[in-house]
């Protein structure tokens, strides 16, 4: 009896001692991007009691994979509403998987949007275009939320840049995204180049774009790729750069 009381007291004492340590360690884990998932009650309703329990007790990633595979199957059956729902669950369960966000955005902005544009069930073109635009926005939304959860990694910035470029023709925004990606560790070496290319297509940013392209050009032979040369020449013309400042004409 006395021993039970002593053990209980020791247990609580140990709890008290480790309380500040664990709080600070949890904080440190979070700032290193661990334990980012916020599993709410709405998720429990969606993935079921068992899946929720598994997710809470150390098998979050595994449950996320299962949901992801379900999403993949739904995509094969072109059930777009289900694809959206399942990807939302998968990304909630594992917000640190760049792959999930990227795939979710791609399915929405590229696949679902195109399917909507050709959807015979929709009454007219106007509605189809509206639906297409909605899916593109959903894709964009996935990428933006993905970036919020993974601000330390370049991949989703690159994907968002592609989306702005290909789906929304917003070259200025695409350029900003490429530039952000380029600043992060592990970025592809073409990110800086792509940022400059996109800027060169953005009306009103010609001067900026010219300077960026010229800087790259000056870095040396390895940056002087055909597209870069073409865009640089185009801007030299457009901005009326003095001849002696222009890059040499190889072909002519």
């Amino acid at each position: 009896m006395i021993r039970g009381v002593i053990i209980g007291a020791l247990l609580l004492l140990f709890g008290g001692l480790r309380l500040p340590i664990e709080s600070s360690l949890t904080e440190q884990h979070r700032s290193a991007y661990f334990h980012q998932a916020r599993l709410g009650l709405d998720l429990r309703e969606q993935i079921g009691q068992l899946g929720f329990l598994a997710a809470l007790s150390g098998f979050r990633s595994l449950v996320a994979d299962v949901v992801f595979i379900q999403a993949h199957v739904a995509w094969e059956r072109t059930e777009w509403g289900r694809v959206l729902l399942l990807f939302r669950q998968a990304t909630t369960l594992q917000p640190r998987s760049v792959l999930f966000w990227d795939m979710a955005a791609w399915h929405m902005a590229w696949n679902a949007s195109v399917a909507a544009l050709h959807d015979e069930a929709l009454p007219n073109d106007l509605v189809r275009r509206k639906a297409q635009r909605e899916y593109i926005d959903l894709g964009k939304d996935f990428l933006e939320r993905g970036i919020k959860n993974n601000p330390d990694r370049p991949q989703l910035y690159e994907s968002l840049a592609r989306l702005y470029k290909e789906k929304l023709q917003n070259h200025a925004a695409a350029a900003t995204c490429y530039a952000r990606a380029a600043a992060l560790p592990g970025a592809a070496e073409y990110d800086n180049r792509f940022a400059a290319y996109e800027l060169s297509f953005a009306p009103g940013h010609e001067r900026e774009a010219y300077e960026a392209l010229r800087r790259l050009y000056d870095l040396g032979e390895h940056e002087r790729l055909p597209t870069l040369l073409t865009r640089l020449k185009f801007l030299e013309e457009k901005l009326g750069i003095p001849l002696y400042e222009r890059i040499p004409d190889k072909e002519k």
Binding site: R3, L10, L11, R18, L19, R60, S61
Partner: protein, 295 residues
């Protein structure tokens, strides 16, 4: 013989107890059942997803590490829970403790035997897992090289880099160490519970309960400390959960490591030390409960 000064701590005695506990556990049917199940799962993870290679590797890693985690946790609980009751039932504990063996050495030996078993199991599983990862990577590598033949060298480089990044990731190793430490913590806690439990079923049920609550401990702790209002009853309940249960969520790092999150060495060291502290403290509690127990 009796003239010899009795040593109050002997690694030789602990080694004998450890070896014996290990031999005892290796004979458990549940050990093989769980091990085969885990190995099958790891082996099968290769065929689970027929998607992109990034996805394939993610599933392979999640399934394998999930199998390792569930195997080590379950084995830690189930194996440890029956050690003391069995020795008591068979009266072997009398013959051991009637020798010049301090009770703490007996407990250390028992725990060390479990930890040895868990360590060797996780090594075996890791070996299979890493071998699979390597083989699959090599297969995909030659495929990629074939597909990218004719492309510019930097594009080939990029393709290979992306493949390598999604296959083996050095952060997996600290992640596996943390899985092991979580199991060690659970084993020590099970040993502690079993010093006063009435049966091994009781111990296992209590431990399963602790396992689930332990994963919610951090949430309870945060609610308690954040002054969210609520009545004193709710507050007391949250405080009890936070103080009495271990924070198991801190030892779940592989999920995010598989997703590509890197663990800084300092953070890994701190988490590992916390795991060791938990294990030692629970072992100490087991001794407090056991040292004066009438057998």
């Amino acid at each position: 013989m009796a003239e010899l000064q009795h040593r109050s701590f002997s690694l030789g005695r602990i080694a004998a107890l450890t070896g014996n506990t290990f031999t005892e556990l290796v004979r458990l049917k549940v050990f093989y059942f769980l091990l085969i199940f885990a190995l099958l799962l790891i082996g099968n993870s290769l065929f689970m997803a027929r998607l992109s290679f990034q996805q394939e590797f993610q599933v392979l890693k999640d399934v394998s590490l999930g199998a390792m985690s569930i195997f080590t946790s379950l084995l830690a609980i189930v194996a440890t829970a029956q050690l003391l009751p069995r020795d008591l039932e068979d009266r072997t504990i009398y013959t051991i403790l009637a020798k010049p063996v301090p009770r703490y050495e007996y407990l250390i030996g028992k725990l060390a035997g479990v930890l040895l078993l868990l360590g060797l199991s996780i090594l075996a599983m890791s070996a299979l897992f890493l071998a699979l990862l390597f083989v699959r990577e090599q297969m995909l590598m030659s495929e990629t090289l074939r597909e990218t033949a004719g492309l510019r060298p930097e594009q080939v480089q990029a393709a290979i880099r992306s493949l390598e990044e999604s296959a083996f990731n050095a952060n997996l190793l600290p992640g596996i160490v943390i899985i092991y430490l979580k199991a060690a913590l659970l084993a020590a806690l099970t040993l502690f519970i079993s010093t006063f439990a009435s049966s091994n079923i009781f111990t296992i049920v209590v431990m399963v309960f602790i396992y689930f609550i332990g994963h919610l401990q951090a949430t309870a702790r945060e609610y308690w400390l954040q002054e969210h209002g609520g009545g004193w009853l709710a507050k007391t309940f949250l405080a009890l959960v936070a103080l009495a249960f271990p924070d198991l969520q801190l030892f779940n790092l592989v999920d995010d490591i598989v997703a590509g999150t890197a663990i800084p060495p300092g953070l890994f060291a701190q988490t590992a030390v916390l795991g060791c502290v938990y294990t030692s403290v629970y072992l100490f509690f087991a001794w407090v409960s056991f040292h004066g127990k009438a057998l």
